[in-house]
Symmetry: C2
Subunit: 341 residues, 2 copies
């Protein structure tokens, strides 16, 4: 494990993206989302993803210059063809348009297809909330989750993020609808640890605690039948609104050479909740102040953990796995590498 | 248990509402939502609620003539003061306005305060989806759910419904974010049955399997920490957008004399998903066709269970508990009762 100062890791990531012909504005945005994931303790959405991003650029399935083609098909609805731009670049361009529009229309939404991996959805929800607006963000992803009572993966880990302005910190929900991420399954496999029961099925659809068997199988939905219903509903809602792929046809965030076929949906409210940030903040504090269960720690609210981890990492640095750290130099193209010598 | 023909139960409910000076259009709508809940197997949102509705009308905290005051604060955002109308009446008036508006603006939302109990949210989501649009419906409710790791109720059972057009049936999600409803806790108490572990805490915040103790305590969120985060985020989102109450300040759906202080949010998309209903339907069928887990029944998708139960009940009638059935005659005011003689 390498402990890397945040500013240094940011410079390295930015340098790699610039060396791979990503324009500066796009590189800054992509870097910021990867670093934010590291800071908040979600390395699965952090620098680990950089290799895939670089490979997708070189394979021609990610266009670092594209920001998406915008078409307002209604006063409040922005349809976006991402033109296979980088996820955060296309997303932030769409969000900029709808946050501005929502100020006059009261609510506005962007439905996005042909976009690459967004990274951590909470980053976008927090951005919207810090701008004084409430937002909902969701997207589809590769089918890794089995239906409740079914034997094989048919549904994405379809995450959902919600941001609401509050003082002193906005509320930021960021959750996947899978019980665990495939990243955690891989992590257990690498460490040779068994999985807790109920996490996964093997390729044949039987329950397994063998992490290696689970990699070829499927992950359970979170929250049993209800969580399954939520994840499936997000799959269908997003695919319907964005005219993107469904289920096992979703591609492009776990591979390096296939065009992304997922969809992203962003909803932003103007400011009907203006002036409520103090009341929301007071309520969230009252929830935190709820007497904890016997033997339990203090109650937290969505976003607290990420913020605490970020503050810690800003002080002492980001822990990067040896594998990811040692892989970074190879992500500079040969020409850029020779310039450095 | 009384087995009552659907048309007869509908007539009885409608008659009671009309006899309590509910205008016909409002009475028809309120009746329809109560009957739909019975049909789909959710008696907690069915005729059981009629006594509370009648009592709230007489107490002056439900106005059967109010349909809500509409104010478009943006081209796509309808702010509604429900003026304490009946829940379905105010809701359907708002939904009619935003479904129409969304056809031109692409997306439209209604944020509603001062409205009475909506009943089953799935009913509204299905209505929107059957009209060819996708919709999201959520609302707050009395604090019955404890924070994950906390000892007392701070959060509503805050339900979420999603409707998406699909052939031959729309997808209809309708879920509460509590692990179980307080209705089921009451049901266990009446039958003298113990609760499964993990459902509830007692008034002192300790885990309990005693249903009577749980009634004075709190219900667990569904899905552990994630479900808690979702329920809390809906609480905060709705309260922020509708300027309604938060947490333990939410009132009016479990009592007969206090003005409702909850909020309702409806989001409708125009028709960006037009033409996708067949593809969505085919995907949902593929999910149903997933080979079931060993020893399990067929996989279902959200809305299947409610539809199956409705079809059954339409044929053989609705089972109404003796308590609810025997209580119905008392819900006609004395004058209306004497007219009948």
């Amino acid at each position: 494990m390498a402990l890397v100062e945040v500013t240094r890791l940011r410079e390295i990531v930015l340098g790699i993206l610039l060396a791979n012909e990503v324009p500066e504005a796009a590189a800054l945005l992509q870097t910021e989302t990867l670093i934010a994931a590291e800071l908040s303790g979600h390395p699965s959405h952090g620098v680990l993803r950089l290799r895939r991003i670089v490979e997708r650029i070189h394979a021609g399935v990610a266009d670092p210059r594209a920001t998406g083609r915008h078409e307002w098909t209604g006063a409040a609805l922005l349809e976006v063809d991402g033109l296979h731009g980088l996820g955060p670049v296309v997303a932030m361009s769409a969000i900029a348009a709808i946050t501005e529009r929502a100020r006059t229309t009261g609510v506005a939404a962007a439905v996005v297809r042909n976009n690459n991996h967004l990274g951590m959805l909470g980053w976008y929800a927090e951005h919207i909330a810090r701008g004084g607006q409430s937002g909902i963000v969701t997207c589809t992803s590769e089918a890794l989750v089995h239906p409740w009572g079914g034997r094989r993966a048919m549904i994405g880990t379809n995450p959902l993020a919600i941001g609401v302005p509050a003082e002193p910190h906005p509320l930021v929900l960021d959750m996947a609808t899978g019980l665990v991420s495939m990243g955690r399954i891989h992590d257990h496999a690498q460490r040779g640890l068994p999985l807790p029961e109920g996490w996964a099925l093997d390729a044949g659809g039987e329950p397994t605690t063998d992490a290696r068997a689970a990699i070829d199988g499927s992950i359970a939905p979170f929250g049993g039948a209800k969580g399954y219903a939520l994840g499936l509903s997000l799959e269908v809602l997003v695919a319907s609104l964005t005219a993107s792929a469904l289920g096992t046809d979703v591609r492009g965030t776990l591979d390096s050479d296939r065009p992304s076929s997922k969809g992203d949906v962003f909803i932003v409210f103007g400011a009907p909740g203006e002036g409520r940030a103090d009341a929301i903040g007071a309520y969230l504090q009252a929830v935190r102040d709820t007497e904890p269960a016997t033997g339990g720690g203090p109650v937290t609210v969505p976003g607290d953990g990420a913020r605490t981890r970020s503050e810690l990492a800003l002080g002492r640095g980001i822990e990067v796995s040896d594998q990811v750290w040692n892989d970074l130099p190879a992500l500079r193209p040969a020409t850029a590498g020779s310039e450095q010598r």
